[in-house]
Symmetry: D2
Subunit: 397 residues, 4 copies
């Protein structure tokens, strides 16, 4: 009898190896660095170790050197990778590269795949995804896109202003979203461009200081000023950018959830270990009811988040509509992970806010997840509208 809420045998073994690798190899590096890695050499070292452990690039097609897992199987492996802030980087499945690989696999030309996907998949380079703009540009509302690309002889000229571009600093190339028709507020007409680092029209104007700090390369504010690219820099079709963004965002949403759920599991383990050994008022902390309630609520949140991720993966793997289930998973996971880290920190008391454990760091890292990739409110808005439409459609039958 097959009950496929469990991973297939290959993924199960890969998840086990990943768990071992992350605990033995990644966590020590993470703890020594307070969760934030800044040197590219250290990144390469971690990735070499992952390759040696046979856990590198679980999501990448085998022709590009990966394990070729489908979404459901990724859930089990990525949750293990996410057990450390640096685990996804080590396995080369961190944001934004992982989502970019996914999209390049889906829509790049063979030549683009060789030029961009292969070095990215092997860790030879990094990338960024330049979509978000400062208000009143594209943010929660993607259709507000203001960056423009216009045709010039032999290519395109991109002009615009982007911010919160994760990993831009040090990236070998950027995938840039620019409007090629229509006006801000209108859906139609965005195109994606591959822009190489070093293009004189693409500039990082500052590193945005943020509550979170562990995403490699940080978050940049960028200006595209007379940024000219050749025709073959177009990724996919002209004017199809919004559709491609959804191609990228659905799976990326699910994999964000997987990675952050790993941190929730880690936080819970730190708190439970503390509660198991700390004596208070004559009891083990783990035997006091209010601590037990927090531990149980963590466990429930983690299990529920995992279940929602699997449901989203099922929709993604089956290839049908997945916007509803990925929005639901993203909204719940972002808030559940936040609650779990917050409770775990509370269980640890003053130790929890100290740098002696990483819970304060985790709290900082997971808070933005309720905003990045669509704030919870935007997702709730789309969820509610879909529910209303679905019932209207049912009633019309």
């Amino acid at each position: 009898m097959a009950v496929d809420l469990t991973p297939g045998p290959v993924a199960a073994e890969l998840a086990r190896r990943t768990a071992r690798f992350v605990r033995d190899t990644v966590v020590p590096v993470e703890e020594a660095n307070g969760g934030v890695l800044r040197s590219d050499d250290e990144r390469r070292e971690l990735q070499a170790a992952a390759r040696a452990a046979g856990v590198f690039a679980p999501h990448v097609a085998s022709e590009f050197g990966g394990h070729g897992l489908d979404m459901r199987d990724r859930a089990f492996v990525f949750e293990e990778a996410g057990y450390s802030l640096l685990g996804p980087l080590a396995l080369n499945c961190a944001a934004p590269d992982e989502g970019n690989m996914h999209m390049l696999e889906a829509i790049a030309t063979p030549a683009q795949k060789e030029q961009y996907l292969r070095p990215l998949a092997t860790g030879g380079t990094r990338s960024c995804f330049a979509m978000t703009e400062p208000a009143p540009g594209a943010g929660s509302d993607a259709s507000a896109l203001t960056t423009k690309a216009v045709r010039v002889p032999g290519g395109w000229r991109i002009d615009g202003h982007k911010w919160f571009i994760t990993g831009a600093d040090g990236a070998g190339f950027a995938i840039v979203m620019a409007r090629t028709s229509g006006a801000p507020g209108e859906a139609g007409g965005a195109t994606m461009f591959l822009v190489d680092a070093g293009n004189p029209g693409m500039k990082i104007v500052r590193h945005i200081e943020t509550l979170d700090e562990s995403l490699f390369g940080g978050h940049a504010e960028m200006v595209f000023d007379n940024c000219v690219v050749p025709d073959d820099a177009v990724l996919g079709e002209v004017d199809e950018g919004f559709a491609y963004a959804r191609v990228r965002l659905g799976p990326a949403r699910a994999t964000h959830c997987m990675r952050w759920l790993g941190i929730a599991r880690r936080a819970q383990d730190i708190a439970v270990r503390r509660a198991s050994t700390r004596e208070l008022f004559g009891s083990r902390l783990a035997e006091l009811g209010m601590a037990q309630q927090m531990i149980a609520d963590n466990e429930i949140d983690i299990a529920a988040a995992h279940g929602l991720i699997l449901q989203a993966c099922a929709d993604l793997d089956l290839g049908g509509p997945s916007g509803h289930s990925t929005s639901i998973a993203k909204t719940f996971c972002a808030e559940a992970v936040w609650r779990v880290v917050d409770r775990s920190l509370q269980i640890c008391g003053a130790l929890g806010v100290s740098g002696d454990v990483l819970l304060g760091r985790f709290l900082r890292e997971v808070r933005p997840f309720r905003i990045y990739d669509g704030p919870s409110e935007t997702h709730r808005w789309t969820i509610a509208r879909r529910v209303v439409r679905r019932l209207d459609a049912e009633d019309a039958r």
Copy 2:
């Protein structure tokens, strides 16, 4: 590619038929009766209709006239049955009969199956499960069991006091849990007995008035006073009652969740239909942000509950340990269903508290689910303890 978060084809079709049957046939009866059925004739009529519709007894083995669904498949069908308060009764999969059938299938002798399971499975009779006792007896803490059974020539004599015995009034027989060794507070030594209605030693002393009223037959307080039963009234082995109770409780916990999740879906549909048509402050209610938030939170709660039910079912179907996942599912579902009904009522405003819709009734019916079958606090306590033990065990390796 098989992603088994979806039902098998047989169950999918049965779920569709059940949905149709409940909406077309059961809901009108439910609405006409305010959600509470009191006449056994009406029960038989509904069950006849279910049989005619080919949806009767989805959980029962085919040799006893059912569809023989495993737990995972039940999830899809029972959630549809639960869309009406009377749906599970119509399909003969309501508590406590459904759980009793499950247990009889698992541990009764062939003769006991013919005598008790067959008429129960076909709707010819009803049953009850007499375990819970008033404080300080067996409640959240099963080991506090005080009802005693002692050997007498040719059988046993049972003496004790039970309450909250659902469906006792009108039941053809009771499965009675009594202590056969050890003292209250000690685990070992309970036995289950089959006691026929009409046994002069088994008396219903009152109907307990409760917030909920839709479980057929209500909740009785019972006294066992010199209640003598023959040797073959023993169900399973002597002194193995606590283990059997767990056999019953795991699946019963999951099926409670399925049924009540159906009511949550129904509440959401009522609220969304109202929000779609009600104009307020110049907008459709369904377009106001606070209503959208409630609708989205309902949808998230429903999806998360469904995911946890499936995870519990996977454990139950695979036959491994399932106490953890069923406790998690039960705790989350009981609270999620409560939240969904509460928000749905709020969306409907004054209409929501009126008898013109059934939301006030649903609120009354689902509230006790956070207490029946183990209060949330007891489940959280066991969940936390398992988490601590699991981590201790991992660390010991």
Copy 3:
């Protein structure tokens, strides 16, 4: 040193007497009747007892036989009265009469006061306030008022449809809100009318079945069909009805909070007594952490609600703007009282949902308070808008 978060000496003594009276005299009647009184004789009996105990009509001016307490002092007395579902009725300070007395004192002519206020204040009669209409009429949005009054020779003719008119059945008169100018959706132009019971144009068409049942006289659906009243039936000025409604609603909102906070205190006492005596898993329930958390959260909610009531009373007594603080108090109290009753019931387990204690009854009674008198969402909307305007105004300075 004067810290006037405590009641004045007169009110303190009255609060003590009220507490004694409610516990000794009202609670036994309430428990014997399951919290719901239906006979007018019993109402008169309770009120006679309150008069004998010197606690009758704490809010009424002394010239009409009351104690003349200001809002702040009322808080302390009404919270004690509300300790039983029947306490406010006994003291003649229940909704809707108490709010009607308040408004009549404020705007009625001397003749109207003699004819309507005096018998109402002394318990000789009861009244109702006919404002709310079924959708799409006046509800959350008062300006949607559709009931119309037009001038006829010597008076007015009222036509319209009302529902959720509390206490209408058996009331000696109704205060009816009708549109006298403008159209639904426009603010201006409502007038209040005093309509005597027996007016052939005023009919109760049904009792609305509701989740709550303890407000004396229930909630009626009424039709005004060619309901003719004389000129002196106008209460206050023509077209000033919306302003008067606010006169009534501000204090009524605060006194609702006081009364329901009394029930929260009662629920907490019931739960704490149970937790003090119930043994579970070898401890007193009151010593288990999760129960302690619920008890503490109840206590915090009760204290916070009390503080918000006092702040609203301060604004009301000082005569300045009070809409913000009464909205805040109402929103918080309605939800806090609900949480307190819900937790108290949970602490009591199966007993809590049984009719052996009144917690299930309380749960049913307090749920609608989150909807009646403006749903929480409407209040939140007005609160948010005031906050934005306040900051805009500050920034403009």
Copy 4:
């Protein structure tokens, strides 16, 4: 008519001046420094400005140069001071100095007041309060105190280990809590000692890295190793330290709440300003229901927190038991302030997690308040126990 939920005229004027001063003078310094001041010169400059603005030392007796406000009046002024992370430092009413001044005023000898209180009150020096110890020492459970003081000729010798000693670095003196009789786990027998900076037996062994960073001087880990002090270093009576700690903690708890509530007001203002100007999906963000709900919930939390602070202040000013109301205020405020900052950040979206506004900083600063000064769980435990005892006492009468 006096409704003393409003400040007296002197305090009202001082609160207005403080509000002006903080907005005009302190906030610019705060924003330029990211909320964290590290230089003592800058501290002295800010304090000089506060003195010039006539708002320095609102809580200090006039003989020591302050405004001599009672607790209730402090609430209004401290909430304004707390509007900036640096406001309390500027007014010399920040933790831990403010609490130390309070205690010195209450129990120091005249000579000790001249030597320690006067320079502290005027900002000439800073101080720290060395009570908390790493596990298993004094933390949530004060009676676990392990640091010991034993008599030596002419004085005492203190040995022990402390951590989370706020402001220790750069402090002119420490008030040190040490056990002078009894054993860890027993209540009786702590004494407070005044230890001058420079005492060779008192060493800061490290700065503890913490999530929060704005408390001036940070949090130190300290070792007392053969730390000898003279007899007149004893503060108050020998063995009365636990009682004095309560003298300090009650008011300190309330003033913590006031200060942090100021930050909640600030966060709300930042968010509301953003919501007023940000356009999203064709509306002002401030007109979208989910944003309005967050704004309203912030407002409700702020008002409820303020009311609880006033109730605690009333108890403190009246001199009766205040442990219950200060625990309630502390627990609610710590969580409410956290919720307000969290919602405010959410309203601001990506901007909210960036360093361009201080909300991420505020989030980091307020999180530990749910742990410092007794974690919420410890307070809930004491609150619940008091509720049980109070009802037991009532029932015994």
